[in-house]
Structures are given as C-alpha cells and as structure tokens.
Amino acid sequence: MMIDREAWKQELLSHAELFERMYDKLPKEYIFMRELMLSALWRSAAQWKLEPETV
C-alpha cells in the first residue's frame, strides 16, 4: 500500500476545485482539514509505503 506524495498533492488540488463549486455553504473545517493534509504530505517521504516485516 503506497502513498505517492505528488499524486496526493494533485488530489488535494482537485478537492479545492470541488469545494469552490459549493463554497457558499461549505463546512469551514474542510478548508483547514485540506491544509492540514497538505502539510502532512509536504513533510512525508516522496513515496510512503509498506514493506513486509522480515523478522
């Protein structure tokens, strides 16, 4: 299971596009949650993934 940082940054950009469509009533927390996720991605590895535990 892998999280590709750059692909996810694109994903979050398109969330903003969706939010803009319904900006009048959008829950305020969505704007900040998006920012927090973006910050988490910026601080993560380019590829975050699982390796089998070899022990």
Binding site: M2, K25, P27, W48, L50
Partner: protein
C-alpha cells in the same frame, strides 16, 4: 362514467383520497384501480403485459415465472438533465441540482399532465419503504399508468392493502405521481413500451414531499420508491429529522467465532456494489460468512442504545445485468433464477436470457435488446449496458436474518470507495469521524476505463450521492459532520479502492471475493483487535495485519496497492 375497481380498497385517509381524486380529474384515465399487492394481482399484470407484447414469457423450465422486455431505445436510463429539485428557494437545491421555481414548474406540468392517462388505467399503489409498520419505515403512494411499474413495485417494495391499514386516517405519505406520457385515443393501438420519446420530467418538491415523473417508463425514472423517494426526498426528510438516507449497501460480516459486524458502504455506479453486497469469501475464509441486508439504499437512524441502526427500505434488487455471472456474483445468479423481470437483456431462442459477461460465448440466434436478431458483425452489444434484472431480495441465498427486523441492524463502520486507477490506496481508516466525512465528500470515480497506465477522468461524486441528494450538497456535508458529533461512539470510517492499476495498466488487486481480506481487517479494527500505522492520510494496515494466506504471489509483487 369513471369506474373505481377493487372497491374494498378505498382508503380512510382523506388526504390520500383527495389527492387521488384530484389527479384523476387532471389525467382523466379510463379507470382507476387500487393495487392490493397480492400474487394474483402480480400475475394479472404480467399476463396483461404479455398480451400487450411488452413482456416475453421466458421458458418455464429454465426461468420459472420470469419475463423479459425491451424498452424504447430513447428510454434506457435515468435522465439527470431532466431531473429537478424544486425547493422553494434555489439555494436549498444547491449548485449540483437542476432547480426551477415550484409554482412555475407546477403550471408547466399541469399543462403536460392534462389528460395524459387517457385510454389507460390509473393504478394507485400504496407501498412501504422498509418493513411494514417499522418505526424506521416511510409510506409512499405511487399513481401510475404503467403495468410494468405495478409489477416492478410489487418486487421492489412492500406494496398493497396492508400499507393502507398502517397509514390509517391521518398517516403521512409521499405522493409519487408517474405517467408514461402517452395517452391513447379511442381505437389507437398501444406501443409495446409506451413513453414520451422527446419530453421527460423527473420533478421533486422536497418541502411538499411529492414527486412527479413524466414521459419515461424506465427504472429510477418510473419506480419512484427508489432514487426519487428513498434518496432525494428521504435525504431532505433525514436532514430535518436527524437521520441519514444513503446510497449504501448494508452487509453483515460474521467471523469464525460467530460474531457479526454490520457495515454500510457507498460506491458510485460501476464499482461492483451489488457484487460486494453479496460477496462469497474465498475458500481459505470458508469459516467467514457475508450476509446481505441491502444492495443499494440504507436508511440509518440513531437508536436509544447510542448505536446507529440501518434498514434497507427496498424489498428487491434492481441490478445491472452485464458482467453478472457465476464467478463475479454467484448469489445474484441464484437470486434471478426465478420470479424475475429482465429489462433490455438478450433473449435466446429457447426462451432464456443472456447478456455480455454471462457466459464466454454468445448463444446462437439471439434476440438483442431492441428485439431484433443480433448480428455479430454489427459491433453492437446484445444487452444494453444499463440492462437490468428485478428480483425479490428473499431469493438471495446470502440474505441476512435481520432483513425484516423493524429496528434494523447496528452499523459499526462505513466504507467509501470509487474506481481509481491511481493515487488512492487499497484501504485506509480515517483519523476520526470528521476526516472520514471529508474523505467521503471528496470521493471520486473514473468515468471511462483508463487505457494502459493512463489516468481516466475523475468525476467527484461525494458519498456517491451527487445525483441523489435532494438538497444543497454542502448542507449535506454539514449534516453528516453534525450527525457524528451527536453520537457517543460514531462508526469508524474506511476508504477503499479495488481498482488501482500498475504502470502497465493491470489491476493490482484481484478484487471480488479477495475483498474479504480487507473486510476482515476492517471488522477487526472496529472491534479494536487489529493494528494499524499512521500514514500521511490516515491509518493503514501493517503488512502483517492483512490476512494474505494463499495470495502469496500478490504479496511479493504488489506492494504498491
């Protein structure tokens, strides 16, 4: 003189009687018939449809008590551009719904509805969405001029006189008016599939709890209990009354110790929702059991015990036929073995049905969904892509024991997923309720199958509710956020993606029965027994948290799911 048959069926509910009288005066049918919901009535409808040439009786030995029919080529799917939410204020319909002023719409509709049932019978179908008499159920009454609708409503809902008893003198009901919009002059022969090929309206008045559908005889446009009532109207009721009306399947997952966990899951169309709801675990999970409560719609209310309880408001399956086979969904194949109506599938010379994906070979001399002999050279499919089966849920071998429980089943987790060839991992658990609601609000699905390695166009479909939310989508997000805050222990929320592809365009996950492995982790997480690690987007299983047994090849090669 207009005649009302089945006179014993007259209602004591004056609001209902008044509405039926008003509609009758407007649409001027030849006769009015109150539907009692009996088997006799169902059989009568089917033989009438056979007489009219709409239904083809299938081979009794191969497919007992079943029928096939072909719709008009213009009438094969829901019509989103003709679907309106006519709330009093435009901002209550929101940016994702078509809106028109209700007064203007009524004037316009009165014009088209006038005399629209001339030459036809007006059927009055009282129906219950959910077990009859359950505190979680709602009552609707559909007026229609289509025998096809009467027959389908018999399967899809609990319809008939019992509902009128529950409705009583003062009970509330949702008014569902449907017409195919094809009046008949005296002596004019009827079409096999009457409809209005050029004019259609699917109109909702959320504040009045009423629906008007004009011009189509197909599925969600005509069976008004389904998307129109159970989602669009019910979602507005739910927002006002503090519950949820969702485009979700409901399933039970029973572990080898006999402990059962109920989940509700939302997927946009073409993501295998029905297959998932009827999943059969792989051989090495034979001591696990999946049971089906519902395959499409869930009504969810907070119970006195602090848990969420869900019912399936429907009584049947209106499933997409193409791709359904013994391998992808054996339980669906058993569900449609008898007492089923097939719409727009192919019909074989020996009187059985066929669609793309049912078997590898196309049967010889097959009739296609337009009722013509299929030409293999034409390049056209035998069955329409949106061809359907209507089957009683009770015929599903995996039906859950609590499907008729008036208090529903307790929901421990929500699952959201779309068809995404990239980016979204196989499974993750949202950090908390709010992040889960955020993830569901931003879920998307690819519109077309992505070619080799190429990314398809992602269409955002929040909660798989975009075409079905009866009010402003962002108000709906707020409702969900608040709903969770008011629960002492809200269900856990998970995101899944069965459709990720590798760089060569191959699916990385086998899906279907192997989804059981993910379900196992999810149910164990809910019970607090499975581990997880914090990723940048949520909680993900450690490699060893997933039960990989027998899937070793996949384990080695596909760490990127």
């Amino acid at each position: 003189l207009i005649q009302q048959t089945a006179t014993t069926m007259k209602t004591i509910n004056s609001t209902l009687q008044k509405w039926v009288d008003e509609v009758q005066a407007l649409v001027t049918p030849d006769q009015v018939r109150w539907c009692d919901g009996t088997q006799k009535e169902y059989d009568e409808m089917c033989s009438l449809l056979v007489q009219k040439g709409t239904f083809i009786k299938l081979n009794e030995a191969k497919r007992p008590n079943s029928f096939a029919c072909f719709s008009d080529p213009s009438d094969v799917a829901r019509v989103e551009d003709r679907t309106f939410i006519c709330s009093r204020k435009k901002e209550n319909a929101g940016p994702t719904n078509n809106w028109m002023d209700p007064a203007e719409m009524k004037t316009e509709l009165d014009g088209v509805l006038k005399g629209c049932m001339k030459g036809r019978t007006m059927y009055v179908i009282p129906f219950s969405m959910g077990p009859i008499g359950s505190p979680m159920s709602q009552i609707g009454v559909e007026i229609t001029d289509s025998e096809y609708v009467v027959a389908n409503m018999h399967i899809m809902t609990r319809a008939g006189s019992k509902v009128l008893e529950v409705l009583g003198e003062n009970g509330n009901f949702v008014k569902c008016l449907h017409t195919v919009g094809a009046p008949l002059e005296k002596g004019q022969p009827d079409a096999k599939w009457p409809c209005n090929p050029t004019l259609k309206y699917i109109v909702h008045y959320p504040e009045e709890r009423s629906i008007v559908s004009y011009g189509s005889g197909y599925g969600g446009n005509a069976l008004l209990g389904k998307k129109c009532f159970a989602l669009r109207i019910a979602s507005t009721m739910a927002q006002e009354e503090g519950w949820l009306a969702e485009h979700m399947l409901i399933m039970g997952v029973q572990n080898p110790a006999g402990e059962k966990t109920y989940l509700a899951a939302a997927f946009p169309s073409a993501c295998g929702k029905t297959n998932f709801a009827m999943l059969i675990p792989p051989a090495e999970f034979s001591d696990w059991k999946i049971t089906t409560v519902g395959d499409d719609i869930a009504w969810i209310k907070p119970g006195k015990d602090g848990q969420l309880h869900a019912i399936n408001p429907e009584a049947g399956y209106f499933g997409v036929a193409p791709g359904t086979n013994e391998k992808t969904n054996p339980n669906a194949i058993k569900s449609i073995s008898k007492n089923t109506i097939f719409t727009n599938v192919g019909v074989t010379p020996d009187g059985d049905v066929w669609w793309e994906g049912l078997t590898k070979e196309v049967p010889k001399d097959i009739i296609d969904w337009q009722g013509k002999k299929w030409d293999p050279a034409s390049g056209r499919p035998v069955a329409h892509g949106n061809s359907r089966f209507t089957a009683p849920a009770i015929q599903n071998p995996s039906i859950d024991e609590n499907v008729e429980n008036p208090n529903g089943v307790p929901i421990s987790a929500f699952i959201f997923g779309g068809r995404r060839s990239t980016t979204i991992p196989l499974v993750y658990q949202a950090i908390n309720w709010s992040y889960g609601v955020y993830a569901a609000s931003t879920m998307g699905s690819e519109t077309t199958a992505a070619a080799f390695g190429e990314q398809g166009k992602v269409r955002r479909d929040p909660f798989a509710m975009l075409p079905f939310c009866g009010y402003h989508m962002a108000d709906y997000f707020n409702h969900w956020l608040q709903f969770g805050r008011d629960l002492p222990a809200p269900p856990r929320i998970f995101n899944v993606n069965w459709f990720r592809k590798d760089k060569d365009g191959n699916f990385m996950w086998p899906g279907f029965s192997d989804n059981m492995r993910i379900l196992k982790w999810i149910t164990e997480r809910v019970k607090g027994r499975a581990s997880a690690v914090e990723s940048p987007i949520g909680w993900m299983p450690h490699y060893d948290d997933i039960d990989w047994k027998v899937l070793m090849v996949l384990v080695k090669n596909n760490l990127m799911i």
